[in-house]
């Protein structure tokens, strides 16, 4: 489960480093070819949020996101990684603009894929309007980049999950890889509980949270294309695989997505719990899914075969 980190090759380190636990910097350092990351507007530039001071809150020099350029198996890639521990990885003005700028450049170039390592609770409250708008701009920039032929790959497995507008951006990506710990949703568990009551959703029932929003459910639904084990190396391999798999974006993909989602509503719209959905999907003993080891789960998900490839 663990080993000392000294005297290891980068791949061994990446294999033994939990994606969930690692910092955004460590994730990028180990995800990309060793030493290949070039960061844009790094922390030494001190481009901090101009808004946190109003609330007497501490700033972070990179505003909670690292954007840059690196190499994956020798090929160029643009990367963005959110730091889920700084303000829950939330989108603020500077944080969001860094990703927008990266996506705009990718669009102009057209051939270099973009990896987004999501780790976010959504909009940063203290700059809610700027954060919301940043997300809108990112969604637009993702779609413009994809239309220009860029593959935009989302990786979800951080501690803050991928919530709020982050969930919408993830929905705009060409493909997603998610780990068991990853969560993708719009409203967070506490938000649902606050609005609908604990009977509707008990946010402290973490098994419920994960089977409603967690990586396994998202993979089985076809919302995510690949299921990665929780190591940076697994995410690296997933990213490489997805870059190879993603096809061009166009109207056909959107029409297929409309059908894919409509079909999901028809089949599962009356289900009250994920276990029902999994059962209808033909999984025997669906209630054991959360306990299933990774390799068996991947085999099962591949057999069920639900994917959003060419339909997003």
């Amino acid at each position: 489960m663990t080993a000392p980190l000294r005297d290891m090759t980068p791949a061994e380190r990446a294999r033994s480093t939990s994606f969930y636990e690692a910092s955004a910097r460590t994730r990028l350092e180990l995800l990309l070819d060793a030493g290949s990351l070039i960061e844009f507007i790094g922390p030494e530039q001190r481009e901090v949020s101009p808004h946190l001071r109003i609330f007497d809150l501490p700033e972070q020099f990179d505003d909670g996101i690292i954007v840059g350029h690196g190499r994956l198996d020798g090929s160029p890639a643009f990367v963005a990684a959110q730091e889920g521990r700084f303000m829950g990885g939330a989108f603020g003005e500077v944080h969001g603009a860094k990703l927008t700028g990266l996506l705009r450049a990718a669009r102009e170039i057209g051939t270099i894929p973009v990896l987004i390592l999501f780790d976010t609770g959504g909009v940063r409250l203290q700059e809610a309007n700027a954060g919301e708008l940043a997300i809108a701009e990112i969604m637009r920039a993702v779609m413009e980049a994809r239309a220009a032929g860029v593959k935009v790959i989302g990786l979800v497995g951080g501690r803050s999950g991928c919530y709020g507008g982050g969930g919408l951006i993830a929905g705009c990506c060409s493909a997603l890889a998610v780990s068991e710990f990853g969560r993708i949703a719009v409203s967070g568990p506490e938000v649902i509980e606050t609005n609908r009551g604990v009977e509707e959703f008990d946010s402290r029932d973490r098994a419920l949270v994960w089977r409603t929003m967690g990586g396994k459910h998202r993979r089985l639904l076809g919302a995510a294309d690949l299921f990665a084990d929780d190591s940076v190396q697994d995410f690296r391999e997933a990213a490489l695989e997805l870059i190879g798999l993603v096809g061009p974006f166009g109207l056909d993909g959107l029409k297929a997505e409309q059908e894919r989602l409509a079909d999901r509503l028809r089949r599962f719209g009356a289900c009250l719990d994920a276990v029902e959905i999994w059962t209808i999907s033909g999984i025997a003993h669906a209630e054991t899914i959360p306990e299933l080891p990774t390799d068996q789960f991947i085999a099962l998900a591949d057999r069920i075969g639900r994917t959003s490839r060419d339909a997003r």
Partner: protein, 240 residues
Amino acid sequence: MTPDNILTALFPDGHQVRNDKGVLLGSATRRSGTCMLVLGVADRTAVGVDEAIRLSGHVLGSIDRDDGPILVLVDSDSQRMSKRDELLGLNEFLAHLAKVLIYADMNGRPTIGLIYGHSAAGALLATGLATRVLVGLPGADPAVMDLPSMAKVTKLSMEALEQKANSTPVFAPGLSNLAQMGAVQMTWNYAAPLADQLEALLADMPAVQDLRDMLGKERGGRLKAAEIGERVRDLALQAR
């Protein structure tokens, strides 16, 4: 304002827009006699999976026809905050709606959002903020996050928050704040016919390019976004 009033004022020559449980779907005839696709959310309805799929379906269904520009009317709640919606993947449904609108806009079907009531969070992202031009009507009250909820999370008093809101448009609800940020490009008024204002906009649509960060800078609401975005873009273009 009711959606009926607004539709009548926008399209005096008639429209076929139906309001089915808060979801507006249809089309309308412009002053010029040409057609315009209309969709939207009315009556402060929450946008969940059921609403989103119908809205996106309406746009996709028209995409091979030339139904003209697309108008998205907005008076919604936030996204529907329920177990069922999240279980079914609300993020994909909302993203899909936004994608469809963005795709249409990029492919010869200019999109205009018109917010005349409320909206918030994920619902606003999937509707008004996914259009090329978002227009506000007087009385609209979009709120990314309402102040009472903010007070709870930030542990600040409402008074303290309201005071801070006076000095910055960056967090507090309201049309004028969103306008200052560059999210709402213009606000129409009821003094002139809405139909004329719509025609004027359509006659002079900005290019298919996201200029909201520039606008936010011009209006003094977002001083950083455009510059940061531009710097990253330049660095990235040099780095390859």
